[in-house]
Amino acid sequence: MEGLNFTENRSLIALLAAILPLFSFVFILASKKGGGANFALSTISLSFLLSIYLFSQVWNAEPEHKQLSWFLIGKVQFYAGILLNNLSVLMMVLVSGISVLVHIYSREYMKSDLNIHRYWAYLGLFCFSMLGLVISDSLLLIYLFWELVGFSSYLLIGFWFSKHAASQAAKKAFVINRIGDLGFLTGIMIIYTQFQTLDLARLFGDGGLISTSSVENGLWISGSQQMPVIWLSIAGFAFFLGAMAKSAQFPLHTWLPDAMEGPTSVSSLIHAATMVAAGVFLIARIYPVFDPLVLDVMVWIGAFTAFMAATIALTQNDIKRILAYSTISQLGFMVMALGIGAYSESIFHLTTHAFFKCLLFLAAGSVIHQIHHYCEKNSHDFDYQDIRLMGGLRKRMPFAFLGMCLASAALVGLPLTSGFLSKDSILIRAFEWAATREGVVVILPWLMVLTSWLTAFYIFRLVFKVFFGESREIKEDKLGHLNDSPVQMTYVLLILSFFCTFIVFAFNPASFESSWLWKGFQVSVIEEISIFHWMVPLILNFGSFVLIFITYKIYVLDKGLQSIEGTWFYRISNREWYFNEIYNFMFIRSVERISLLTYRFDRTVIDGLVISMATLTTTISFIIDWFDRKIIDGLVNATGSFSKYIGRFFRNFQSGRLQHYLTTMLLAVLSFFILSYLI
């Protein structure tokens, strides 16, 4: 590691910011049980401060890129380094900032847990991998942190590992993320083959290898290297697959709702604000690699995911599950936005979404936390995440209610919220994009509008059910114990609430173009059509308000619409489009079955020289069965018994009788003689 020479210390600071949480991970894990909170908080805070500093240095300034050689394979030098540009510093601030808040929140929220030191350690690991991910300058390094993010989320989801569902969910999350990793890896392989480097700056920078490579005659050419153009698309799809898994896009979204088995603070940090954003971040970081075909697919996947998740969220009853689906839905928006080329809008939405979704979760967590405490105190047992059992908490937990309302408004995209800016910008772009095209694509923006309205419905259904009306389980007389969460948690809610307002991002609450953040990424590829800039928000918000009102009527005033339960629409939605069942049937069962089959194959066919697969056994069973019984175990045994048979054949001649010997011997000699001379 000699020869490390950072000319400027910005990279070093970034490195320090990333490493600090790792330090916390190692330190806390090595230290005694039960502690670590302060240490974790201080390291992440320091990281956050460093990130802020970096942000101030790098934002809209010259990007910073420093690297040093990592290892050499053959003649290809691999570098490890740090690439700081607008995107990375924004992500750094976002990740570390939200982490700080979640850390603070968790001190209270997780206080009673026995293995709390593990929790802090895991959080440290997660922050490290996430920060590492955003500052890495090479695809290989990104991949490294990418998987590490998955791993730490595995640890955090499975934090309560003695809970079966938690360990199950952790496994599911990891395995599904692995599918995405395969895509990522495939992408890396293609890129490496084509360009012999995995360096982001060299690949995607200005005048990078990607932009100089060309497509001619169905060949994708870069320098002397060429491969069929299909591989360009495959590379795009592969990277997109990786992003899909991390960002929970259809069809790899099923892990996210399950991941809600983890502590709520974790859900808030990972599954709302940061980790799921990694997918979008990846797409943004390697944006040039996607060709139009992939972008189109991205659009549709994103749109469909958004719509599907919204429909599912309509009927869920678990408070965190609703939020999870809303996350998926919003991620769909972002992906769709990237697909249509609304790059800056997507990042913008990513940022705003991080805050309001975090707030949603933390507020929900606050509710859960308090109900949990209430239950413990009153030895009352019920599912404290089920919104059907809640109600009337508006007065008891005003701060949580406030936070929740604000965040919901942002989610729906009501005016004056950050969501209004970012979400509407995406929809405007969608309309603009669709306007330049023909065919079915024109329904796309309308689908998004519909989704947006559905969002209004489901999120306010949650708000109304939890905070309005009467609780079905919590007795009025004991409500005295139930009030807002401890101060630390409340402060966090308040801070986040502030970040849900337009003021943080733009001074003009109606124009996303005025947002500093949007400007930071502005790459205009879509022709602006001004009519959409005022039409779309108008229609959207009008519809949203109408829907909120309807929701209010249904859930607070208890009128109508209860009868939809039991309809096919309800069932599909409630069972989450049956994805788990389908996957279970299609993949898990079949993999299990195949693995059993291969094992049996291994035991019988490979090991047993027996041509009897299970299916064949049924059809030509008795022949195979005979075979099976005769030659039971192994090529080795078979040859063994074969040689024994040969031996036994010859043994028959060894009768012990002299004259038999002589007869046999002479017969052999004579027959040899006759064969050679007389015939």
């Binding site: 007869t663 002479l666 006759i674 007389l678």
Partner: protein, 177 residues
């Protein structure tokens, strides 16, 4: 056919027939005596090949040695040996098929071989000096024994000594038994 030939073929027939009888005879003692006949007839045939010393040796060693040895073996050992031997020998039987087949095959092959060869045309037969009826073969054998065949002759003595010691060892009773 001259007198010589008649005598030759008589002895030849005697060799073969007596040998066959020896083999198929049920009574062992009788068959041993017929064996005697075979050996004598063979000695006669040797004479026709102008090997008088060999004929003599045949009579002395076989008739005088081997046969007597066999008979002594019976006498010295248990009488039961003789008794038990009686029923064992039996004539041609179908379970001897393999033996018969092999013998006949051999006979066939040997006959084919012998008939195919014109011995008088063999190079060496024409080159070498044949033995005349007047030659003293005993004399020749004496010289051979002391010159060309000195080594085998001497080795033979060791051989016989070994056989003697060994056979004596096997046949004698142990000290302790």
């Amino acid at each position: 056919m001259g007198q010589e030939q008649i005598i030759f073929y008589f002895f030849a027939a005697s060799v073969l027939i007596s040998a066959l009888c020896v083999v198929v005879m049920k009574n062992l003692v009788r068959s041993i005596f017929l064996f005697f006949v075979t050996l004598f007839s063979l000695a006669a045939l040797y004479l026709f090949a102008l090997a008088d010393f060999i004929a003599l040796a045949q009579v002395v060693i076989y008739a005088g040695g081997v046969l007597v040895l066999m008979l002594f073996a019976f006498m010295l050992s248990n009488r039961e040996l003789l008794n038990s031997l009686k029923p064992t020998a039996s004539g041609f039987k179908i379970n001897h098929f393999a033996g018969i087949l092999i013998s006949l095959l051999f006979l066939f092959i040997l006959f084919t071989v012998i008939i195919k060869i014109d011995f008088n045309q063999l190079d060496w037969m024409q080159e070498r000096v044949p033995i005349n009826a007047s030659d003293n073969t005993t004399h020749q054998i004496g010289i051979h024994t002391m010159t060309t065949y000195l080594l085998p002759f001497e080795i033979l003595s060791v051989f016989l000594m070994m056989a003697l010691i060994g056979a004596a060892h096997l046949a004698r009773r142990g000290n302790k038994a």
